[in-house]
């Protein structure tokens, strides 16, 4: 097993290399530079700034210099946050997104799997349609709708949660991460619920379940022990990238609740043409993707004993 994992981790290097190379050249081709503004600085000033950040050198030279720095884990200075390096930006923003994302993940998993199992056990009955319809709300109310609604209800009406900000605010009972996490979690719960239900129904119609039933294995045991294992396969496949996405933050939710997480850096760095920050966040996200897809593959293998042959 160790060998397999180490092998997968080693694949990170070429994968990251390709991601960084593609992103590097794509972001340079995109029109607009980091220093353009509504009030145009003179071409002279722009030239000076480009020279300061080494953007006046040939592209391949910039690329090689960049790779050289990346190998030493130096992702360069951010242009947007003038006194911070990319590493510092990620180091301060990621913990916040990690907290929100992990909580959201737990919420999504608990609600989603429960709803899915209940629905699968009561196929085409009231207790199928009810939890499934409820879970659909998570999709019908996308984060940019649900977020403001939750902020209004829990922040302004009930005064339980802060409507904006991260630090401090201990005069309201809820921690600032709760509302963003709920908003995100409900959205993913809908996916998990539907995938769980579908996966379980696939298993429940298989022969070995029939056999087990015939042998008199109790229903709940069939459901939770046998069906759930296989039924979670599609969920787990979905969860790898979903978890990576959750803990790297969401632009919309961070803007709605004004949380200083990492999600906004992905989007804002592109809008600002902050090349080092674009590359830094993309490399970071790429690593998370590869890691959690590996975890997801391992969990899939664990759930499905047959694939381990």
């Amino acid at each position: 097993m160790i060998k397999v994992i180490v092998g997968r981790l080693l694949q990170l290097i070429p994968v990251l290399g390709i991601i960084l190379t593609l992103t590097f050249f794509m972001s340079k081709v995109v029109p607009g530079g980091p220093f353009s503004a509504e009030r145009q600085a003179t071409p002279e000033v722009i030239a000076k700034l480009n020279a300061y950040y080494g953007l006046d050198r040939p592209l391949w030279e910039q690329y090689l210099t960049y790779l050289g720095n990346v190998v030493r884990f130096n992702f360069g200075p951010s242009y947007t946050y003038q006194s911070e390096s990319v590493n510092e930006v990620i180091a301060r923003a990621f913990p916040i997104s990690l907290q929100i994302g992990t909580l959201a993940f737990c919420i999504a998993l608990i609600i989603g799997v429960t709803a899915g199992v209940v629905a699968a056990a009561n196929k085409n009955k009231l207790w199928d349609y009810f939890p499934m319809s409820l879970s659909m709300l998570g999709i019908c109310l996308p984060t940019f709708v649900l977020g403001p609604i939750l902020a209004l209800v829990f922040g302004l009406v009930l005064k339980l949660a802060p409507v904006s900000g991260w630090y401090g605010l201990n005069y309201v009972p809820f921690h600032p991460m709760i509302m963003p996490a709920v908003t995100l979690g409900l959205f993913y719960a809908a996916y998990i619920a539907r995938l769980t239900r579908g996966g379980m129904l696939d298993i429940l119609s298989q022969d070995f379940i029939r056999t087990a039933r015939a042998k008199g294995v109790p229903d709940h045991e069939i459901l939770l022990k046998h069906a759930l294992r296989g039924g979670l396969l599609p969920v787990v496949a979905f969860l790898g990238p979903a978890f990576a996405g959750l803990i790297s933050g969401s632009f919309v939710v961070e803007k709605v609740f004004n949380v200083p997480g990492l999600g906004q850096e992905f989007i804002k760095s592109v809008f600002n043409r902050d090349y080092p920050l674009i590359l830094g966040t993309v490399a970071f996200f790429g690593t998370l993707i590869v890691l959690f897809n590996l975890v997801s593959d391992i969990v899939q293998a664990l759930l499905d004993p047959k694939s381990r042959k």
Partner: protein, 362 residues
């Protein structure tokens, strides 16, 4: 975990035999017809699509016709006509909603204002300076947006865009995703590794950059829109299908098929993919709303629909920002959007059941 199956009755082989005629589909349709919820979903969905196609021609308004003095008027709010005499040329006509009528007489005292508005509301023609006010028979069933455009027409016309984008992009992503995932999962080994790492790379690439690049290189183009959306949406599908295929390919009936020497593509298309059709349908129905909302993001970046045209995603996004003052701007598109999703999901569940090769034994 032992499966404990004494009697292996590989259902897909049965399905395989049925493929001779159209009976698999006939069979499925037969089963679907017995599922009332799914049928209800199907009919409602067709109704929505038909409404979007036909009704905009009969609302009496166009999606672009602004009436800015009307502003955001509530559904069925009474509307008044203001005729302003001009020194030269035709008098200028504009419409005002009841809630804004008082603002026309701001220089008067509050009680006077109320009295005037009440009079006009009762049908009286009222003159004030160069302006004449009278009741209008005009009505907007869903109200109007901040520029005074008929919301019903805008929602329905937007629905055409959203439905087209939703289905086309989903189709693209399903095709790529299923083929990619199934091939990777079935082939395994190095091919699997390379294919899945390729998906990881696509996952990590910054979507915004890609979209801006596409727009700059090819201009605004609806086909591109599908490509852009399809290019990101198939990744999850591929992962899900791959996971299922890996689990299936070690099952007895596939091992049997392999040992019989059936060609790989036949095993893949006849035996493996039909067995994961449930997950495919479910994830596809989840992709549709995702794509519709993603379209709003693309519009923000300049690749999606261009104003004054709109789509459900864009309308919901705009509506969410004004939900405290004019909730109907959010509710109306959201109802159509949600209804479509519910229908699709019920229909998807029904289809899943109907197409499940094992289900016929129940």
């Amino acid at each position: 975990m032992a499966t404990g199956t004494a009697s292996i009755e590989p259902a897909p082989i049965r399905a395989d035999e049925l493929v001779q005629g159209t009976s698999l589909w006939k069979d499925a349709w037969f089963r679907l017809r017995k599922n009332h919820v799914a049928l209800f979903g199907l009919y409602t969905f067709c109704t929505i699509a038909l409404l979007c196609l036909v009704v905009p021609f009969f609302t009496g308004y166009t999606y672009e016709q602004t009436e800015i003095s009307l502003k955001a008027s509530a559904p069925m709010e009474p509307i008044f006509l203001r005729t302003e005499a001009r020194k030269a040329g035709e008098p200028k006509k504009s419409f005002i909603a009841l809630s804004n009528l008082e603002d026309e007489f701001l220089e008067k005292s509050q009680s006077d204002r109320k009295a005037i508005v009440a009079k006009i509301a009762e049908g009286e023609v009222y003159q004030e300076g160069r302006n004449t006010y009278q009741r209008s028979s005009q009505r907007h069933v869903f109200g109007t947006d901040p520029l005074g455009r008929d919301l019903l027409t805008r929602v329905l016309v937007g629905g055409r865009i959203s439905l087209a984008v939703g289905f086309a992009a989903t189709l693209v992503s399903v095709c790529i995703g299923v083929l990619w995932g199934a091939t990777a999962g079935f082939a395994g080994g190095k091919i699997d590794t390379v294919m899945m790492r390729f998906a990881d790379i696509l996952y990590a690439l910054p979507f915004t950059v890609i979209v801006i690049l596409l727009m700059v290189m090819f201009g605004r183009n609806f086909i591109l829109l599908f490509v852009a959306i399809g290019a990101v949406e198939w990744l999850n599908m591929a992962r899900i299908v791959r996971g299922q295929i890996i689990s299936l390919k070690n099952q007895e009936f596939i091992e049997a098929a392999i040992s019989l020497g059936l060609p790989s593509h036949r095993i893949l298309f006849r035996h493996l993919i039909p067995n994961v059709i449930g997950s495919i349908i479910i994830y596809a129905t989840l992709t549709v709303p995702n794509v519709m909302l993603l379209e709003a993001v693309l519009s923000f970046l300049g690749l999606g629909v261009q104003p004054p045209l709109s789509s459900w995603g864009v309308l919901i996004d705009e509506g969410s920002r004004t939900m405290e003052t004019s909730i109907w701007l959010l509710v109306c598109p959201a109802i159509f959007f949600s209804l479509t999703l519910f229908c699709l999901n019920f229909l998807g569940d029904g289809l899943r059941d109907a197409l499940d090769p094992k289900a016929s034994k129940d």
